[in-house]
Structure formats: structure tokens, C-alpha cells
């Protein structure tokens, strides 16, 4: 019997493996991972590990300790070159071919970069190696760190750098941080929080390119022609799903791997985590979610879908949830709001830096974001899991 092949050993892939075993699958499983070892747990990489308050070895994925008992043939430093969905055959970069009985696509995503020549001092943040390289540059004590992109990663890195006592400029092309996903009023709160902690926040600013000397970055040139001097630049402008190996495979690609509501892409092929775009029946829309818990949940759903074989499988309906720690503030969000949704503030205020914002679109609540309000966010999430109706959320938070 051919093995089930899991491509990618991060949260989604290992969670799928776990679900296969939990679901009673006793056959062979091969896990292919491009990195030379188990990818670390990522949330601490922009926070505790970067700050030096957590040992890098402690940033372990939840299933790391259980990997042995999941009985998989895990192959490190193994890159898939190409794949054919019609017969489930994988060709590896080392020339080997692998026949699969089913495939879990969990290759994640890779950070977008600014392009241009490679300059020392310019960083992205995705892997433990990225984190340690950035950390080493911060240890030198740069006069200024410029963070390009005020999404959640950029904002966390800016906060960590400030806590290390470094001068920080945070650049964002949009009029407010997180403007792709949150209404501007909430983004403005984030900008104000960073300014209050001494970050030079510049919004609506385009980046023209990096300036360097002797192979090392010396500044960031802005769209208006001015240059900000910086010895370290962190680029946090989003990620692109890692689907290069699936080009021409017969697996439908759009914003990642295009899956149905059960996480199935084509017969025998499922996808999970950052790489997967699926139809979330709870919201009635297609989404690709780059979040920690989501990768675990969707990985499990994808594993179960493979086990359902030719049957219809279970829809994966979810209310996504994530957290972000910046300074002493804990942001948490449940749901999937859009920048154009109305933002209603409950349980506090922006001034107190402690509140819940519920996002409204017509008679629906599309999500809830809390700052230092974990209880309200989790209760809202439970209610949103039952229904996205606005009124019960309003009643809960009022």
C-alpha cells in the first residue's frame, strides 16, 4: 500500500498526521520537510525569542514531543520538485519519485521581500534562523531599526525592538496599520499605541528601495525621495503561499491551493494552513488564514478528509482566532472582518487601551477584536461559532 505523503512538517502538516493516526489510519505516512529539522513554533519568534527572554529550543511546536509515536517516515531537507495530481506521484529534488495514496499539502508560505540586491542587515521573519539572524544584528546595537510594514508581524517586531531599547521607525504604505483587514479606527489605535511607546510611526509612506554601502544596508529610501538612515531593516509586508512545486500539477491554484469546504483540492489531495484557501461555510466565503490555531484545526480537518476517501467528507467550518502581544497589550481577534465593516467599541475605550471592538456588516457580526479582554473575545467567539448574528454579540458585550 502506498503511503500518505504530508508535504511540510509545520503545524498544519503535523496536525494532519496526528488526525490520520487518531482516525485509525495504520498505513505508512511519509513527511517531507524542506528544512533540515523540525520547524520551530513561530509565535515566539517575533516576541520572546527575539527579545531573548525565551530559549530558542523552547519554541517547539505542540506536536514536537509526540512526533515519534505518530510513526511517520520523516525526511528532512527534502524538497518536492513537482507533482502530478492525476496519479499522485511526487518527484523530489534528489531525483527520487514517490507514489502516494493521498497527499496533504502543508507547505506554508514565504515572506514577500522588497527585491533589489541582497544587503546584510535586511531581514524577514519566518523561521527560527531568521529570528536568530535578526537578533544577532539587534545585539550589535543599531542606531535605528526600520520596520517596513505595519501588519501584526511588523508591529510585534517594532514593539520588541523598543523593549530592547532600540530606536524604531515603523513604515506603512496604507493610511493605517492593518488596513487590509481592519477598519481604519482600529488601525489608528495601533499606530497611537506604538507612538506612545516612542516608535516613529509613518503612515501612507511608500518605500522606494533600500540604500546600502559595501553590501550592508544603510537606509530606506522613501517614495518622496527622502532617506531614513538605518543599520537594520525588517521587512514585514506579508507572505505568499508556497505553491511553486504545484505549478502544472493539476492542483487548482489561486490565492494558494484552492480547496472545497472540506479542504479537498482534487481527489486524494487536501491542503491546510497558510497555503490553503478553502470555502469556509460558516462565513459563506473563501478565505486563506495565516494563523497558528487555524493551521492546527485545518490540518486535523484535512487529515480527516483524506480518511473519508470517496465519501463527501465533513465541511470545515471555523471562526478563526489569533492573538498578538505588543508591549503589555494582548490583542486577540475572532472572526474575519473586512476593512469596510463598522467598528463598535464595547467594554472600555481606546483611551484606556482596553476594549472590545465588534465588527458589523448589516445584521452580521463578522468578528470581534479585544485588547486586554481575553474573556470577552473567547465568549464572543463561542457565540459566533453558533451564529454570526449581530444582536447576540451586542447583547453579550453591552
Amino acid at each position: 500500500m502506498d503511503p500518505i505523503v504530508v508535504v511540510g512538517a509545520s503545524l498544519g502538516g503535523l496536525s494532519a498526521l496526528d488526525a490520520l493516526r487518531t482516525g485509525g489510519y495504520d498505513g505508512d505516512v511519509v513527511v517531507l520537510e524542506a528544512a533540515s529539522g523540525l520547524p520551530s513554533d513561530r509565535p515566539p519568534l517575533s516576541k520572546q525569542v527575539l527579545a531573548g527572554t525565551m530559549d530558542p529550543d523552547a519554541a517547539r511546536q505542540p506536536l514536537a514531543a509526540k512526533l515519534e509515536e505518530l510513526r511517520a517516515d520523516v525526511r528532512w531537507s527534502t524538497v518536492v520538485e513537482s507533482f502530478a495530481a492525476s496519479d499522485l506521484r511526487l518527484r523530489l529534488r534528489n531525483g527520487e519519485e514517490l507514489q502516494a495514496a493521498g497527499v496533504v499539502v502543508a507547505t506554508g508560505a514565504a515572506p514577500r521581500t522588497l527585491g533589489g540586491p541582497n544587503l546584510a542587515g535586511v531581514h524577514v521573519l519566518r523561521t527560527l534562523e531568521d529570528c536568530l539572524a535578526l537578533r544577532a544584528d539587534l545585539d550589535v546595537g543599531p542606531d535605528r531599526v526600520v520596520v517596513v510594514g505595519a501588519g501584526f508581524i511588523g508591529a510585534e517586531v517594532a514593539a520588541t525592538c523598543r523593549e530592547l531599547g532600540l530606536s524604531v521607525t515603523l513604515l506603512e504604505g496604507a493610511p493605517a496599520p492593518m488596513a487590509r483587514v481592519l477598519p481604519e479606527s482600529v488601525g489608528s489605535f495601533v499606530a497611537d499605541l506604538h507612538r506612545a511607546h516612542g516608535v516613529d510611526v509613518r503612515l501612507g509612506v511608500g518605500v522606494d528601495g533600500l540604500v546600502g554601502a559595501d553590501g550592508r544596508v544603510s537606509g530606506v529610501r522613501l517614495g518622496d525621495g527622502t532617506t531614513i538612515a538605518a543599520q537594520v531593516v525588517v521587512v514585514g509586508i506579508g507572505v505568499a503561499p508556497s505553491t511553486g512545486w504545484l505549478a502544472g500539477s493539476g492542483v487548482p491554484l489561486g490565492n494558494g491551493v484552492t480547496c472545497d469546504e472540506t479542504c479537498l483540492a482534487v481527489p486524494g489531495v487536501v491542503a491546510a494552513g497558510d497555503v490553503a484557501e478553502w470555502f469556509n461555510p460558516h462565513f459563506g466565503e473563501r478565505m486563506r488564514v495565516e494563523q497558528w490555531e487555524h493551521a492546527i484545526e485545518q490540518g486535523a480537518a484535512a487529515g480527516r478528509r483524506l480518511l473519508a476517501g470517496d465519501g463527501p467528507g465533513e465541511p470545515f467550518a471555523s471562526v478563526p482566532w489569533f492573538w498578538s502581544d505588543q508591549y503589555d497589550r494582548k490583542f486577540q481577534m475572532a472572526g474575519r472582518p473586512a476593512a469596510t465593516d463598522e467598528a463598535h467599541v464595547f467594554e472600555g475605550s481606546f483611551e484606556e487601551q482596553r476594549f472590545v471592538v465588534a465588527f458589523r456588516r448589516g445584521d452580521r457580526c463578522t468578528g470581534v477584536l479585544g485588547v486586554n479582554r481575553p474573556r470577552h473575545v473567547v465568549q464572543s467567539r463561542m457565540r459566533l461559532a453558533e451564529s454570526l448574528a449581530w444582536e447576540p454579540i451586542e447583547a453579550l458585550l453591552s
Binding site: W321, W323, D325, P374, R375, V378, M382
Partner: protein, 63 residues
């Protein structure tokens, strides 16, 4: 079954409360309270799921 929370790791994300509200409660002071340190056996599945989903892996379920 005994619940052990490593409060050095716990960040009050309250995920556990969403999964097993009869056992875990994050209150307005932002701290996690374990409502039942030795919950009845019929809560085992919920409690195990809560431990699994904890972003800090701060919850241990001892037999």
C-alpha cells in the same frame, strides 16, 4: 484526572475557557482560574482538547 497549569507559561489567551468553560475561567483581572482541579471523567475530552489548543502549552492533564 488532575489539571496542572504552568502559570509561568500561561498568557491568559483564554482558549481553554472557550473549549472547557466548566473547568477554566479567565476573569476580568486577566488571570486564569481553574474552577475544578480534579474535574469529573466526563469532561476529559474537553479538558484534553483545551490542553491541546493552548498556544503556550501551559496545561497538563495528569491521569
Amino acid at each position: 484526572m488532575k489539571i496542572v497549569v504552568n502559570f509561568d507559561l500561561c498568557e491568559s489567551n483564554a482558549v481553554c475557557m472557550g473549549v472547557a468553560p466548566e473547568v477554566f475561567e479567565v476573569r476580568d483581572d486577566d488571570f486564569l482560574y481553574v474552577l475544578q482541579e480534579e474535574p469529573p471523567e466526563d469532561l476529559r475530552e474537553q479538558v484534553t482538547e483545551a490542553a491541546r489548543r493552548c498556544p503556550k502549552q501551559a496545561i497538563t492533564v495528569e491521569d
